[in-house]
């Protein structure tokens, strides 16, 4: 398969949830590229995490269309109400929230992607329910 680097990295992400540094030499060898090149590719793309995260993963769109409909309010709500820092690394908070720029659901902004499932018209209530469910307790 020509240009196999990204497909391999996506497979690793799917399997392990992140790309361990220990995998870099193996990837390099398999592709006949240097370790520096392999690391260079891993570190270039936002998708490839270098360390694991626990809990559910919510990708929260913070691009213009979602800004126009209040995504930044949701970011502060997450911090104030739930103690969740977007793009932060917190252990055991049950949910990891990270910034993305555009999920192509802009007519139903603000948008999110919860473990791959699209969510439109996100608001504080919906977010509360997501966090509660991720933490395994009811409101």
């Amino acid at each position: 398969m020509p240009g196999a680097t990204l497909p391999i990295l996506h497979d690793l992400m799917e399997q392990f949830g992140y790309i361990d540094d220990a995998a870099i030499p193996l990837i390099a060898e398999a592709l006949s590229i240097s370790r520096a090149e392999a690391l260079g590719v891993v570190s270039f793309y936002h998708d490839f995490r270098r360390s694991p995260v626990s809990g559910r993963v919510l990708k929260l769109c913070r691009a213009e269309s979602c800004q126009a409909t209040g995504c930044e309010d949701l970011v502060s709500h997450l911090a104030v109400r739930h103690g969740v820092t977007v793009d932060g690394v917190e252990e055991g908070s049950g949910i990891h929230v990270e910034t993305v720029y555009c999920l192509g659901n802009c007519a139903l902004s603000p948008a999110g992607l919860l473990d791959g499932q699209p969510i439109g018209r996100l608001d504080r209530d919906r977010l509360d329910a997501i966090v509660a469910a991720a933490r395994g307790r009811t409101q």
Binding site: E64, C102, N105, C106, A107, L108, A111, L113, P118, R121
Partner: protein
């Protein structure tokens, strides 16, 4: 015969519960022992009505929306299967003004048919474009695309036919067709809708291109933020292969073409064609210096046509109906139709395919119905994160390549994001730089360093210590980025920044209340 109900499986529809609605309707049908066939379609693009449930009746397809899963029983009670009255009843879907007023060439089938049914696709008259291309041969096919006036729909607006002719004329043992489906602009979703709602159209368009330029292999680079589109499109490729549309003998012609879908990895810059090629080759998505053009030396150094989803998707129509018919739509040098996408703070967000030349007001007020919040429109960003912020006073600007350029804006990929009067345009300008800093590939200095200096300078202006000097500095920086960047990311980031500054200067002159009180 069982009743046929249509419910979108488009990711926007899913994001507001379309799966649950489909499940509830099937469960309710079972409970009542009514035979119902639920067909999952793409979306019509009337997103404020999603989940939109359609029923085939003697009077045509009638709609109900937005439907929640809790309303299933009520729908049956009111005989929705025969088009019964219900508070959510919309009547004939194709008569809804939002849809009836459009000129849908590319999106004619999206939301109507089962996206993965080749029978549906054929039944709706398709492959006629490809069949005609096979009869015409490569040279005449390219002439047809040239004569149609089709320009690249990804944003740059370069004539598609010229790209094809250049690649066709290049001498090489291997050529490629690459589809740029890295639709990263905020406010755009047409590529996603098409891949999820009518994937065979894109496959047909890419096949037409491949046969015209002599490519045997194609790639579709789909962004990872679109997992659903990737999955639907990958399945469509398999089915097309199974049906002989792709493979060693396209539609029995003896000509070879095959296709592979590849997933991006969350880098906006990979929407730039040379970055995309680097990424496909398995490298960091850093842009290449042009020349050589990809048409001459593209993927793996071979001649490559790189086009946007919508450009490829326009070609079956052009081949079927002829270049002249296509060029009959639009104005000046902006010919054909453009799928516009209404987003942000707008009441009726969705996909509006129109001939070029409608006004921005038509779109945001006529179709969009103004803001969702009901507050006045203050700014409209056209063309994604690198597009200009236009004030309400410019709403009568026409939406075509030249008119947009005349107001120092650009059409880009046709995304329109509406903001109400609560927006702080200085913050939006700062964000434009922040975004550029985050997404810069780092190859050229104006973009890599300029973006960060830009964030700092806008912050200084907002703080208001030496505003006049800092505004001058900002304009100077924008000039350097415009003239000195290698690609559109650094080169066009000044567009949103300067348009915000020029049209909404007052937002940059607010001294923070806290500082004033001290």
């Amino acid at each position: 015969m069982s009743a046929r109900v249509f419910i979108p499986a488009d990711s926007s529809a899913l994001s507001v519960g379309a799966d649950a609605v489909a499940g509830a309707i099937l469960a309710e049908a079972r409970r009542r022992s009514v035979e119902v066939e639920v067909v999952r379609t793409g979306s019509r693009g009337l997103f404020w009505l999603e989940p939109l449930v359609e029923v085939e009746t003697a009077a045509g397809r009638v709609g109900y929306g937005p439907v929640s899963s809790g309303e299933a029983a009520q729908l049956f009670d009111t005989d929705f299967l025969t088009g019964g009255a219900h508070p959510k009843a919309l009547g004939r879907v194709d008569a809804i003004p939002y849809l009836a007023r459009q000129q849908r060439l590319i999106f004619a089938r999206c939301g109507v048919t089962d996206p993965l049914s080749l029978d549906d696709y054929r039944h709706n008259g398709e492959f006629r474009g490809l069949e005609r291309a096979l009869r015409l041969g490569p040279k005449a096919t390219i002439e047809e695309v040239l004569a149609s006036g089709l320009r690249g729909r990804g944003g740059a607006g370069f004539p598609t036919g010229i790209k094809w002719r250049t690649t066709a004329g290049a001498d090489a043992d291997q050529k490629y067709v690459v589809c740029n489906a890295d639709e990263g602009d905020s406010g755009t979703f047409a590529d996603r809708m098409l891949m999820e709602g009518d994937p065979f159209l894109l496959i047909e368009g890419m096949t037409i291109a491949a046969l015209a330029i002599g490519a045997t292999q194609g790639y579709v680079y789909i962004r990872s933020e679109y997992p659903h589109a990737f999955s639907v499109f990958s399945r469509a490729i398999e089915r097309a292969r199974g049906a002989g549309l792709l493979g060693p003998s396209v539609l029995g012609s003896g000509r070879t073409f095959d296709l592979e879908a590849r997933l991006g990895a969350g880098a906006y810059i990979c929407g730039e064609e040379t970055s995309l090629l680097e990424s496909l080759e398995g490298k960091r998505g850093q842009i290449r210096v042009k020349p050589p053009l990809p048409a001459i030396a593209g993927l793996f150094g071979k001649p490559t046509v790189v086009n946007n989803v919508l450009s490829f998707a326009a070609t079956p129509w052009i081949l079927e109906h002829g270049a002249k018919a296509y060029a009959g739509y639009g104005v000046g040098r902006s010919l054909g139709s453009q799928p516009f996408q209404l987003a942000g703070n707008v009441r009726h967000g969705g996909l509006v395919e129109l001939a070029f030349g409608a006004t921005l007001r038509d779109l945001v007020e006529g179709f969009g119905g103004g803001t969702m919040t009901g507050r006045p429109i203050r700014a409209v960003q056209v063309g994604g994160p690198l597009g200009a912020y236009l004030p309400a006073s410019l709403l009568d600007t026409r939406l075509d390549y030249e008119s947009m350029a005349a107001v120092k804006g650009m059409l880009g990929h046709g995304g329109i994001v509406v903001f109400d009067d609560t927006v702080d345009m200085a913050r939006q300008a700062r964000f434009a730089f922040e975004f550029c800093a985050k997404e810069s590939c780092g190859k050229c200095t104006p973009c890599r360093i300029g973006s960060t200096r830009g964030v700092e300078t806008v912050e200084k202006i907002i703080a208001g210590r030496d505003r006049q000097k800092d505004v001058e500095l900002l304009r100077d920086l924008c000039e350097v980025m415009t003239d000195g960047s290698l690609c559109a990311l650094g080169g066009l980031t000044p567009l949103p920044v300067l348009s915000a500054l020029d049209h909404f200067g007052e937002d940059f002159a607010k001294t923070p209340a806290r500082v004033a009180a001290e």
